[in-house]
Amino acid sequence: MLRYILRRIFYMIITLFIIATVTFFLMKLLPGSPLSAENKLSESQREVVLEKYGLNDPIPVQYVNYMTGLVRGDLGISFHFDNTPVTDILINRMPPSMVLGGQALIFGTIAGILFGLIAAIYHNGWLDYTSTVIAVLGTSIPSFVFAGLLQWYLANEWGLFPVALWGTYAHTVLPTIALAIFPMATAARFTRTEMLEVLGSDYITTARAKGVTESGIIFKHGLRNSLIPLVTVMGPMAVSLMTGTLVIEKIFAVPGIGEQFVSSIEVLDYPTIMGTTLLFSVLFIVILLVIDILYGLIDPRIRLTGGGR
């Protein structure tokens, strides 16, 4: 197991190196210059700024400089945002997104599994239809619609939670709910389908023939078997939730990484773009590793040997 993880970490470093390289050159292909928004600068001032950020060097030199910094753990300083070091930007902006995404993932998944279970147990009954409708709505209606409704009713009308901004735990409630709806609907759909399939399988018949009660069938034999495919879907979803969503962060005025990332692309703030991309990649790779380890824990048929992916 340890061997396996070490091996995976080794691959992870290689992957990150490749991602950094590809992102670096792709980013340079973006049209425009980091200074194109700064019209007030004179020609000579421009030169000074370009020189200061090393942007006058040939691109390969810039690349080598960046990678050398990266190896030393230096992500550079932002061209904008008051020349803050990129590391500080990430440290400030990541937590709100992680908190929202993490909460949404946990609550959404748990609620989704429950809905899916109920739907499967009462297959073709009204509870099944109701939860199927909820699942379809949850996956097809965009999250900003829910966000708006939540703000209007729970915050404005009934005053239960703050409308927006960041600070106390209460501030996290509405954006978490808005974010949780999609994972919830997805988990519900998967759980229902899988559970129905599992309930029709031979080993469930064997369990019934042993005298296992209906709740034992569902929770002891059925649930674990039907969670396996869910783990696969929820992994990438976890990443997209925790890397912040622009829409939700904008609507609830959350100082998260999603919003930051988008504005850094708009102004071609190269070091911030690179730093954020690399951070997201690390997150993604780590979550993939966690999923594989989870898989191994749930399913004994999967062996974690050093083979890698």
Binding site: Y203, T205, T206, A209, K210, G211, V212, E214, R301
Partner: protein, 338 residues
Amino acid sequence: MNEKLLEIKNLKTSFRIEDQYYAAVDDVSLTVNENEVLAIVGESGCGKSALAFSLMRLHNRAKIEGDILFKGDDVTNYSAGQVNKLRGNEMSMIFQDPLTALNPLMKIGDQIGEVLLLHKGKFSNLNRKQKAISLLDKVGIARPEHVYEQFPHELSGGMRQRVVIAIAIANDPEVLIADEPTTALDATIQSQILDLLNELKENMNAGIILITHDLGVVAEMADRVAVMYAGQIVEVADVHALFGMPQHPYTRSLLSSVPNAESVDSKLHVIQGIVPSLKNLTREGCRFRSRIPWIDESVHEKSPELHEISPNHFVRCTCYKNFYFPDEKKEDKRHGIS
């Protein structure tokens, strides 16, 4: 023959296909006695599994009519709780496909332990483990302590079937239903599993229902045989009577299809065709006549009944008297009645 363990009376199991119910088991009456192996034979699709699942109440969407008396108690009226107490305890079942019959995520030991825990809660954890290991040993698994800790995917098909059998016999059932326990296994493993069942049969007092389409298996294990065709019993007899004096044309055809049967021209006496699907099955009149078109229409009965032609030998219809295979002369009816 000893006491009646299971009495099946006019059992009818119907499945719903597009708004209508079609009987897959149609008016079946059978008795299983203590210490007896009743074989049920018939082609694939004739309703053997549907019958077995009805006895264990394992169908989740089927209409079941008729009575199933377990030691005089009608289990068709049982509540879910009562059924759960019966299953895996007094009545248990072995399934056809050992590769899918075990929960892939549970250790073998836990799957055996579960059935012990469910019914004999008095076992302590340690005793339960010992009991499970002794069961594994009983079904002929080498290194039972090791297998106890393994998962199904680590075992071969034959081993898994032994585990399924261990689960089924864990609580010394009075009725054991084996639904084609060897069909999915290759020949050598098949005979090993049959030997095991034979051995267990000697030491159990159970009534065993052995479902198979393999007459070799029947000859080796059964005391009595019921032949099923299209959801109905067409012949029931003592195993010697059935092999010695098969009466119904379908039984005779089945016997002729066994390789190495004594009869030289046996291959000629296999009736071609398949069991019709549930929806397309003619329910009026005899279900078998379409497979023997050379028999004169006038000899068929309107609704053939089971007749007791000699003590404990039942045959559906009277026309076995008029039946002949295409190559036999009409008058020549010595076949099978040696």
